[in-house]
C-alpha cells in the first residue's frame, strides 16, 4: 500500500496523461484536442520534475550548509520541453485558425463530412 501511495507522483502523472488522451480521443473539437495534447505533455513535465526531487534537497544553488540538492538537469531539460510544447500548441492553434477559415468549423466530424463531399 505504501508502495502504491509512495509513488503518488506517478499516479498524478498517469491521471493527467489519461485525461489528456481522453480529450484527444473523445472530443471532436480541434481546440479541445490541442488542449488535451497540452495536458498530456504537461504530465510528462511533472514526471521529470518529480523525479528530480530528492527528499530534503533544495534548489541547486551552491550555498553554505546545504549539501543535498535536487538534480538540476531535469529542470533544464523540461524548460526546453516546455518551449517545444508551447511551440506545438501555438502551431496547432494556428492550424486551427486556418482550418476554421477553410472549413468554417473546428469540429472534426464536420470537417470529415466536408472532406468526403469533395
Amino acid at each position: 500500500m505504501s508502495n502504491l501511495l509512495g509513488h503518488y507522483n506517478y499516479w498524478i502523472v498517469i491521471v493527467l496523461m489519461m485525461t489528456g488522451f481522453y480529450i484527444v480521443i473523445a472530443r471532436p473539437n480541434l481546440i479541445k484536442k490541442v488542449i488535451g495534447l497540452f495536458i498530456f505533455q504537461t504530465s510528462v513535465f511533472i514526471l521529470f520534475i518529480s523525479m528530480a526531487k530528492i527528499e530534503g534537497g533544495t534548489a541547486p544553488i551552491i550555498a553554505e550548509g546545504i549539501s543535498v540538492y535536487s538534480n538540476p538537469l531535469p529542470h533544464v531539460l523540461i524548460l526546453t520541453a516546455i518551449v517545444v510544447s508551447l511551440a506545438t500548441t501555438a502551431l496547432g492553434l494556428a492550424l486551427i485558425v486556418r482550418i476554421m477559415e477553410a472549413y468554417g468549423t473546428t469540429n472534426e466530424d464536420e470537417i470529415h463530412v466536408q472532406d468526403e463531399q469533395d
Binding site: L37, V44, R98, E108
Partner: protein
C-alpha cells in the same frame, strides 16, 4: 579548424540560415539562399562522410564540454550514410523546388516555406549527428514542427487537416520518446547514448527500463509510420506540396528508422531489444502486415500520390523487416533498403510533382495518354517504378536482393515469398500508372500539356541516375551499409 568543427557545422549552418531566410521577403532570394545553404550542407555532409569512411566514428563535443556532461555529436557509419542521404536529397530538390513551389504555394508563403524547409533539414541532420538522447528529442521536434508547417502549405484545405493530424500524432510520438528518455535518465543518470549503453545492462531487469522501452518503441513507430500507426502518413504525403512529399518520403521517415536503429542497437543493445524484449518478432509481424496491407491499398488507389504514400508505408515495412532480423545481413539489408527507397521514392514523388505542375491532377484517369506529352517525366516515373518493384539493374533490386537473402539466411522463407508477392503488388500498382500513361488514349484536355521544365526534370533524372547506378554497382553503398550494421551490432556486443 573548420574541418574539426564539421559535425557542428552540419547542424549549425542550416539552423542559423533559417531565420536569415525569413528576412528575405523576395521569394527568389529566399530560394537562392536556401539553395546555397543546402549545397553547403551537402558539401559538409560529403566531407564528413569521407572522414567517417576513412577514419571511423567521429565524436565531437559541443562547446568543448566533455562527455557525458556536455552534448556529444557522434557520427558513425550509419550516421554518415544518413546525413549524406538527407543532405543530398535536400540539395537535389532545391533546383526543382523553384518552379514547383511557385506553382503550388501562394507567393506570400514562399519565404516561410524555405525557412521551414531549412529548419526541417536542421532537425533531420541533428537527429542523426547527435549522441545525446534528449538532444535527439529536441531535434526530432524541430524537424516535426517544421514539417507540420511544410505540409500545411499544400494547395488544398485538406493539407491543413492532414498537418493537424500529423501534429497530434507526431507530438504524442515525440512525447513518448521523451518519457522513455526520462525513465532511462532516472535509472542511469545520463543522457549520453554511449554512456547509457554502458550503464543500462546493470539495470535492464527493472520494470522502469521495460516501460521506457515500450514508450520508446511506440513513439518511434509513430514517427516512422509503422503499421498500424501509419495513418497520419497517407494524408500528409498526399496533400503536402510535391516537393515536401518527396523530401519527407525520402528523409523524414528514414530519420525515424535511424532513431529506431540508434535506440534499439546503440542504447538498449540488440541483446536487450531483440532477445529479452522480443521486439524483433513484434516488428516482423507489424512489418508483415504493413507490407501486405499497404501494398493492397496502393493497388486499389486511384490517386497516384496517395498510392505512392501507401507504397511508402509498405516500403517502411520492408526496412523494418530487415532490421527485425537483428542479424548483420538483416540490418545491412534494412539500411540499404532505407537508402535506396529514399532515392526511389524521392524520384517518384518529384516526377509526380512534374505531372501535377502540368496537369494539375495526379489521378489515374486524368493521366491517360500522358506519356506522349510528358515523355521524360513518365520515363523517369517508369524507371523509378521499376526500381520500386525491384527490377534488376535498379537500386530497388539490390535492396530486395539483400533483403530476401537475409530473410532466407535467417530461415524465414515464407517471408521471402511475401516480399516477392508484394513486389508483384508493387508491379500491379505501378503498372496501372504505366498502362494509363502509355497505353490509354489521351483525353481532349491533354493537348495543352507539355513537358515539365528542365529545372525540374534534371533533379528527377539525377535521382533516377543514382538509382540506376546503384543498380549496376552497389559496392559502395553495400560496404557502407555493412560497416554501419557492423558498428550498430558490434556496439551491442561491447
Amino acid at each position: 579548424m573548420l574541418l574539426a568543427n564539421l559535425p557542428a557545422l552540419q547542424v549549425v549552418i542550416p539552423l542559423v540560415s533559417a531565420p536569415l531566410c525569413l528576412l528575405l521577403r523576395n521569394p527568389r532570394h529566399a530560394w537562392a539562399w536556401a539553395t546555397l545553404v543546402s549545397t553547403m550542407v551537402l558539401a559538409v555532409a560529403v566531407m564528413l562522410a569521407q572522414r567517417v569512411y576513412a577514419e571511423g566514428t567521429i565524436s565531437y563535443a559541443i562547446g568543448a564540454w566533455a562527455t557525458p556532461w556536455g552534448i556529444e555529436y557522434r557520427i558513425d557509419m550509419a550516421g554518415a550514410l544518413m546525413i549524406l542521404l538527407i543532405a543530398a536529397i535536400g540539395a537535389v530538390i532545391m533546383p526543382y523546388a523553384r518552379r514547383s513551389i511557385r506553382h503550388e504555394i501562394a507567393r506570400k508563403h514562399i519565404t516561410l516555406f524555405y525557412t521551414s524547409y531549412l529548419l526541417c533539414l536542421t532537425g533531420l541532420l541533428g537527429i542523426v549527428v547527435t549522441g545525446d538522447a534528449f538532444n535527439l528529442f529536441v531535434f526530432l521536434e524541430i524537424s516535426s514542427l517544421s514539417s507540420y508547417v511544410l505540409i500545411s502549405l499544400g494547395s488544398t484545405r485538406r493539407a491543413l487537416t492532414a498537418a493537424f493530424q500529423y501534429l497530434v500524432m507526431g507530438t504524442i510520438g515525440a512525447t513518448f520518446i521523451l518519457i522513455g528518455v526520462g525513465l532511462l535518465y532516472m535509472m542511469t543518470g545520463t543522457l549520453n547514448m554511449t554512456d547509457l549503453a554502458q550503464r543500462l545492462p546493470e539495470v535492464t531487469d527493472t520494470r522502469t527500463i521495460r516501460v521506457a522501452f515500450a514508450f520508446v518503441t511506440v513513439g518511434v513507430s509513430i514517427k516512422l509510420a509503422l503499421f498500424p500507426l501509419h495513418i497520419w502518413l497517407p494524408n500528409a504525403y498526399t496533400f503536402a506540396p510535391s516537393v515536401v512529399s518527396a523530401f519527407m518520403a525520402a528523409t523524414a521517415t528514414k530519420a525515424g528508422v535511424y532513431v529506431l536503429l540508434r535506440l534499439f542497437f546503440t542504447v538498449f543493445g540488440s541483446e536487450f531489444s531483440f532477445t529479452a524484449m522480443h521486439v524483433g518478432e513484434i516488428l516482423m509481424l507489424l512489418a508483415f502486415a504493413a507490407i501486405l496491407v499497404a501494398s493492397l491499398v496502393a493497388v486499389f488507389e486511384n490517386n497516384v500520390k496517395r498510392m505512392l504514400a501507401y507504397s511508402s508505408v509498405a516500403q517502411i515495412g520492408y526496412t523494418i523487416l530487415g532490421i527485425s532480423l537483428a542479424s548483420t545481413a538483416g540490418v545491412t539489408a534494412g539500411i540499404i533498403y532505407l537508402v535506396n527507397h529514399a532515392l526511389i521514392k524521392g524520384a517518384l514523388f518529384l516526377a509526380l510533382g512534374c505531372v501535377f505542375l502540368r496537369l494539375g491532377s495526379v489521378t489515374l484517369k486524368d493521366m491517360h495518354g500522358l506519356a506522349r506529352h510528358m515523355p521524360w517525366t513518365m520515363a523517369a516515373f517508369v524507371a523509378g517504378g521499376l526500381s520500386l518493384i525491384g527490377m534488376p539493374l535498379t537500386a530497388g533490386f539490390i535492396s530486395k536482393w539483400y533483403l530476401v537473402s537475409a530473410v532466407l539466411a535467417a530461415g524465414y522463407w515464407p517471408l521471402a515469398v511475401l516480399v516477392l508477392v508484394s513486389s508483384l503488388l508493387a508491379l500491379i500498382y505501378i503498372w496501372r500508372v504505366v498502362e494509363a500513361a502509355y497505353f490509354n488514349v489521351p483525353g481532349a484536355a491533354m493537348h495543352k500539356v507539355k513537358e515539365a521544365p528542365a529545372s525540374m526534370l534534371i533533379p528527377v533524372w539525377l535521382l533516377i541516375g543514382v538509382n540506376l547506378y546503384v543498380g549496376i554497382d552497389a559496392s559502395l553503398i553495400f560496404s557502407m551499409a555493412q560497416q554501419a550494421a557492423d558498428t550498430l551490432i558490434g556496439q551491442a556486443l561491447q
